[in-house]
């Protein structure tokens, strides 16, 4: 008898603990977000957690390649990712993304139609919801350099030899050369790429290096005078009082441009919460806070009115840009070959 009642008591305790545990764990649902580093300010995430009773677990990546390789290699458990356009199409083709029910993202209406109209990687937003867009441009330290044109030709200027860097990124560098020649940044014509290679080879003697990691620090210290890169990287390193020195521009010939979009992974476990999060991020107040934080123009039209920070460039400056699309395997191989010739020399 004793043992029986003891067992019953034990069972009750166990049951109680289980109920408690599930109550604690389940009071908030969870959302697994795989996002760019420093892309969404922490307080925005915290506000979402509070208002929706959700526990958001954030993991971050610093390149599309890193994110994609992790997911392809079997990394799972995430609900939302934020790939750039070319990777959206790659991930659609790989079946990694879930087809969206756009009626659950009413705030998509806030996104500038002019941006959506230029999307080639997912024309009807069947898999992706545009979040932020921008482009790498050229930053010039105007206290050191003068008499240059707002053109990619600045990298051919021998007066600036040994003071310039371009990104260690074949799409950006070859894209710059292709635009300089008047072609598309997604051009896969071998003859055009050969011309682009020659252009980059003519710039290369003037470059200190191809750098996507530390160029902004050396630009801020005055070592580099002209750098190709993202405005947010460059301005972040610069002393606020001296920011007037920076002449950031998009070359008149145009430039490769990115659009990062929210996507729900096909294996997502928390789909409802994921929709809530995406719609929340597209609400004007939140979009404005993100743009303020990044000092970037917002593709979210009503958010522009709410911004309190002047962005590093305006949305209209991006008019000359062209979204990077996936090149396909053959196109990628061609770009790799050309890029290796540039990097290694044969």
């Amino acid at each position: 008898m004793v043992s029986k009642s003891a067992r019953a008591a034990l069972a009750l305790v166990v049951l109680g603990v289980l109920v408690l545990a599930s109550a604690c764990g389940g009071s908030g649902q969870k959302l697994y977000l795989y996002n760019w580093t420093y892309y969404i300010p922490d307080d925005v995430i915290e506000d979402f957690e509070r208002s929706h009773g959700v526990d958001v677990i954030v993991d971050s990546y610093s390149s599309n390649e890193e994110m994609y390789n992790k997911l392809v290699a079997g990394g799972s458990g995430y609900d939302i990712v934020v790939p750039s356009g070319d990777y959206v199409s790659i991930m659609i083709a790989e079946g990694l993304l879930k087809e969206l029910d756009l009626s659950r993202v009413p705030n998509l209406a806030n996104v500038d139609p002019s941006a959506i109209a230029r999307i080639g990687f997912d024309p009807d937003n069947r898999y992706s919801v545009p979040f932020m867009m921008g482009a790498a441009g050229v930053s010039v330290n105007s206290s050191k350099a003068e008499g240059y044109a707002h053109s990619w030709s600045i990298f051919g200027d021998e007066r600036l030899r040994g003071r310039m860097t371009m990104l260690d990124d074949m799409r950006e560098v070859l894209g710059a050369a292709l635009k300089f020649l008047g072609y598309s940044v997604n051009d896969v014509d071998p003859a055009h790429l050969e011309q682009a290679r020659q252009v980059v080879e003519s710039w290369k003697p003037n470059l200190v290096k191809f750098d996507a990691e530390a160029f902004a620090k050396s630009f801020a210290s005055g070592e580099f005078w002209v750098v190709q890169g993202y405005a947010e990287n460059v301005f972040l390193e610069y002393d606020e009082e001296r920011r007037g020195e920076i002449d950031f521009f998009f070359p008149q010939e145009g430039m490769p441009m990115y659009l990062d979009s929210f996507c729900i992974l096909s294996g997502a476990q928390n789909v409802d919460t994921a929709y809530q999060f995406i719609d929340y991020m597209l609400s004007p107040e939140i979009a404005a806070r993100v743009s303020d934080y990044l000092m970037l123009p917002s593709p979210n039209v009503p958010a522009r009115e709410l911004m309190t920070v002047t962005p590093n460039y305006s949305f209209d400056d991006l008019a000359a840009g062209e979204f990077k699309e996936d090149l396909g395997l053959e196109g990628l191989k061609l770009y790799n070959k050309v890029w290796r010739q540039i990097r290694v020399g044969n």
């Binding site: 390649e65 890193e66 390789n69 290699a73 790659i90 083709a93 990124d169 070592e223």
Partner: protein
């Protein structure tokens, strides 16, 4: 030699190595023979494409470049580490010196690279000093070339060379040097004929501890290198990420592994029966790793204890 339960003691390390070393290595071998996927990853169709791609002159250039940098940096590292190890072994403040060698490890590796950028940059401390002393007007470019890569690599891996050299030299019986002098050897001869042969094991260890990681260097050439400082480590990373060519990345990694393994075996053979990290000639059993060099000299063939 008794055959006790000794084999069992090795079970944890065997398990560890099979899960975290052998299995990944087998995956790399398998991937290197598969077809590049349309969008990264691999297709399960066997092919030799990756190995055909390696035969490309580009890889030869990068490989030669990497070997030159790695060999040069390793030799300089050992040349600096030898006197350091010698001095530490003879010093009365061994613990303090040992601590000083280890202190850099307290700071993150990347932060130390950025510190070098701050020192060597055109607007860096070194150029400021040269300008202050009136030696130069225009800043000198120290960074972003092969020399900067070599310098930072030597700096990074110096402790890895000093420590094994120190531990070997520390066990050396210095009265042997005196004996050599008494028998008429010059100072230099005493070092080359008596000291160096006896610390050969330590030199090999130092060589391997520096050469192998430098051969696979990635961050240093990326951060302080220039347009021409492109090493195999960078090539592998780019093939895996930007080029989305996993089989090629696997094949290059495998070639590196093979080259290093063959290199190590050749070195070991050249080192005679020397056991890594041991006193040198004559010590045969791993248990004797700590054998006194003096002992192996005294009994040239090495005596089982």
């Amino acid at each position: 030699m008794k055959q006790g339960p000794g084999g069992l003691y090795a079970a944890p390390s065997i398990l560890w190595l099979s899960v975290f070393f052998v299995a990944p290595l087998l995956i790399i071998v398998a991937y290197s023979f598969l077809t590049q996927g349309q969008r990264g990853g691999v297709e399960w169709k066997p092919t030799l494409d990756a190995y055909k791609a390696i035969a490309n002159p580009t890889f030869l250039t990068v490989t030669v470049n990497t070997i030159v940098v790695a060999l040069g940096a390793t030799l300089v590292t050992i040349l600096i580490a030898l006197p350091c190890g010698y001095h530490m072994a003879r010093s009365k403040r061994q613990n303090l010196l040992l601590l000083l060698v280890i202190i850099p490890f307290w700071t993150n590796f990347l932060i130390r690279i950025y510190a070098w950028i701050a020192i060597l940059g055109n607007e860096g401390f070194l150029n400021d000093l040269l300008r202050f002393l009136g030696l130069t007007d225009e800043p000198l470019r120290f960074l972003y070339n092969r020399w900067a890569v070599g310098l930072v690599l030597v700096y990074t891996y110096l402790p890895y060379a000093i420590l094994p050299l120190f531990s070997t030299i520390d066990k050396f019986d210095f009265s042997l040097l005196e004996a050599a002098r008494d028998l008429g050897a010059t100072k230099l001869k005493a070092i080359t004929r008596v000291l160096l042969p006896n610390i050969r094991g330590g030199v090999f260890t130092a060589f391997l501890f520096t050469f192998i990681p430098i051969f696979g260097a990635y961050a240093v050439p990326l951060l302080v290198g220039g347009t021409e400082s492109y090493m195999l480590g960078n090539l592998i990373a780019d093939e895996l990420t930007k080029s989305r060519n996993w089989p090629l990345a696997a094949a290059i990694s495998l070639v590196i592994t093979l080259v290093t393994t063959v290199g190590v075996m050749l070195l070991l053979r050249a080192g005679g029966t020397a056991t890594l990290g041991s006193g040198g000639a004559g010590t045969k059993e791993p248990e004797e790793g700590a054998a006194l060099p003096a002992q192996s000299v005294a009994s040239a063939e090495g005596e089982p204890a």
